[in-house]
């Protein structure tokens, strides 16, 4: 057991947890959070692989701790995840503003509909 | 000389770690939010400060010193502001909710 394996396992756990939240949470913002958890879990898997790839080399004295190619992929992925989150949040707020719902279930009742909506 | 510096590091870092312990205990044990805020500030300012102080002899380059001290100074600024903001956000719950209107007057820059 070393750090790379440990955090790889941690990433696997995060993916499982995030997937559960993504499927089971009715609230859309919670789904966004869960989606981010899955993302970071995947990134950690990349990190574990990068670390292993660098571990081969650091003994060879190149001064690289960790394979830079997966690292670069993860950085790109973080940016894309942020952009996706921003769009999701904007969509969600617009949904709440227009319909008063914060869930994606079209016939599901919102647990606490804002006052005055029903009569409108 | 080096042993002396190492001893200084040990003492300062240990003291700093103690302040983090104290801060956590305060956070967990103090009765209300404002008291917990107090515990947090102590840990923030003294704990991190002592750790930074203790690490200074272990860093060779002057640039590293500047970085470490800048970390502490920025943490002080952030901690002070956060305490003010949170205390202000906690207090209205006790009664004076009225001023929680957003009232963005023109800034001093504009």
């Amino acid at each position: 057991m070393n750090g790379a394996t440990l955090f790889g396992l941690c990433g696997a756990g995060l993916i499982g947890l995030g997937l559960y939240g993504l499927i089971c949470h009715p609230g859309a913002l919670r789904k966004v959070l869960a989606f981010n958890l899955i993302g970071s879990g995947v990134f950690l898997l990349f990190g574990a692989i990068a670390r292993r790839g660098g571990g081969v080399l650091s003994s060879a004295g190149t001064g690289i701790d960790s394979d830079p190619v997966p690292q670069a992929l993860v950085i790109t992925g973080l940016v894309v995840a942020f952009a996706a989150t921003a769009i999701a949040v904007a969509l969600l707020l617009r949904l709440a503003e227009t319909t008063g719902r914060t869930t994606l279930d079209p016939n599901g009742s919102d647990p606490a509909p804002p006052a005055g909506r029903k009569e409108a | 000389m080096s042993a002396l510096l190492d001893g200084f590091t040990v003492v300062a870092v240990s003291l700093g770690a103690l302040f983090f312990l104290a801060g956590t205990l305060g956070l967990l044990r103090f009765p209300d939010t404002l008291a917990r805020l107090h515990a947090l500030s102590a840990a923030d300012n003294l704990g991190l400060g002592l750790v930074v102080l203790g690490l200074l002899p272990q860093v060779a380059s002057p640039l590293g010193w500047i970085g470490l001290i800048a970390v502490w100074l920025l943490a002080l600024l952030a901690s002070g502001t956060v305490s003010q903001l949170l205390a202000g956000a906690v207090r209205p719950l006790d009664g004076a909710e009225t001023q929680a209107r957003d009232n963005p007057a023109e800034g001093p820059f504009s």
């Binding site: 913002l29 830079p68 | 957003d102």
Partner: protein
């Protein structure tokens, strides 16, 4: 070496328990607070994995900007709130379905864990190729070399993706709101502490952002991390109410958003003639060209991030109070 393993195990446990909290918390607000701490700890995890560049990006995005975005959204949604996930069957799918999902998710996690444990033993790696070709690029940070030389096409797409994302956010504006300013970064009531912070921190932050940009060539850092810091400083000024949010129609800002990708594409296309392929740099000019691309991209990403954070333009809520 054992003590560092203890640190790693502790870190992994805290990260996992925070993730559990993010899923299980009773209100979305609490979940978001958990998410901010989670981002911070993940940054430390990346340091432990030897990936300082990723750590910087994760700290800036995970705890910083994403936290800001989500806390704002949670506050706006708090009046129709919401829904425990464990325990109360009234909201969301029924218990049996959840149990099934739980089992399947556990299986997926276990499968991935098995993959991690069974990874091939001399680990495949491109690190030696990167290291041996590093002198040709002129930059010293291998991650920067991958981002802007070996896999520049990925970075180009990453820079471009922010523009459609921004347009996507803008397109959610109402017809009435279109002429207004973005509304997500509304100031709190003005307090002297927040004003002080928003006046003292941005100069420091701007210097630090430029520092991150500059050392990115040879050390951990780079354009994206710098842009996040600059965008965060701008957002702070907006949140303190010292400045109005930028109008989405402002021509200079729109130009700033697209100039980075345009320069990147321009240099890339010129590579077809000057070197021998799209996005190839002529020999000897790699470093100045990478620096030029990074400089304009920093500007573009900063503006695009602020627009993403600020949300779609909205009719001035308190138009009377504001001007």
């Amino acid at each position: 070496m054992t003590i560092s393993l203890v640190v790693d195990i502790g870190l992994a446990l805290v990260v996992l328990s925070l993730a559990l909290w993010i899923i299980a918390a009773t209100t979305v607000y609490r979940a978001v607070i958990g998410f901010i701490v989670y981002g911070l700890l993940l940054a430390i995890v990346w340091v432990r994995l030897g990936a300082a560049d990723v750590a910087l990006t994760e700290a800036a995005l995970g705890g910083g900007l994403t936290g800001l975005l989500l806390l704002g959204a949670a506050a706006r949604l708090s009046h129709h709130e919401c829904v425990p996930v464990f325990g109360r069957p009234a909201a969301g799918p029924v218990v049996g379905f959840r149990l099934l999902v739980g089992i399947l998710c556990t299986l997926i996690a276990a499968g991935l864990a098995a993959v991690v444990l069974l990874l091939p033993e001399p680990a495949p790696s491109l690190a030696s190729e990167v290291a041996s070709n590093l002198p040709a690029t002129g930059v010293g940070n291998p991650v920067t070399a991958v981002l802007l030389a070996y896999r520049a096409i990925d970075t180009l797409l990453e820079a471009v993706v922010l523009v459609p994302a921004m347009i996507g956010v803008w397109s959610l504006a109402t017809d009435q709101g279109w002429s207004g300013r973005p509304g997500f970064l509304t100031p709190a009531r003005r307090t002297s502490a927040l004003t002080l912070l928003a006046q003292v921190l941005p100069p420091v932050g701007i210097v630090f952002g430029i520092h991150l940009f500059w050392i990115g060539a040879d050390h951990p850092g780079g354009k994206f991390q710098a842009a996040v810091v600059l965008a965060a400083m701008w957002a702070l000024v907006l949140l303190a109410g010292l400045r109005e949010p930028p109008r989405v129609g402002s021509p200079p800002l729109r130009l700033a958003v697209v100039v980075g990708p345009l320069v990147f594409i321009g240099i890339g296309v010129s590579g077809i003639w000057l070197a021998d392929a799209f996005l190839a740099y002529p020999a000897g000019y790699a470093k100045p060209m990478i620096l030029a691309i990074e400089a304009v991209l920093t500007l573009s990403i900063t503006v695009a991030l602020v627009f993403l954070l600020a949300g779609p333009p909205a009719a001035d809520r308190s138009a009377d109070g504001r001007r």
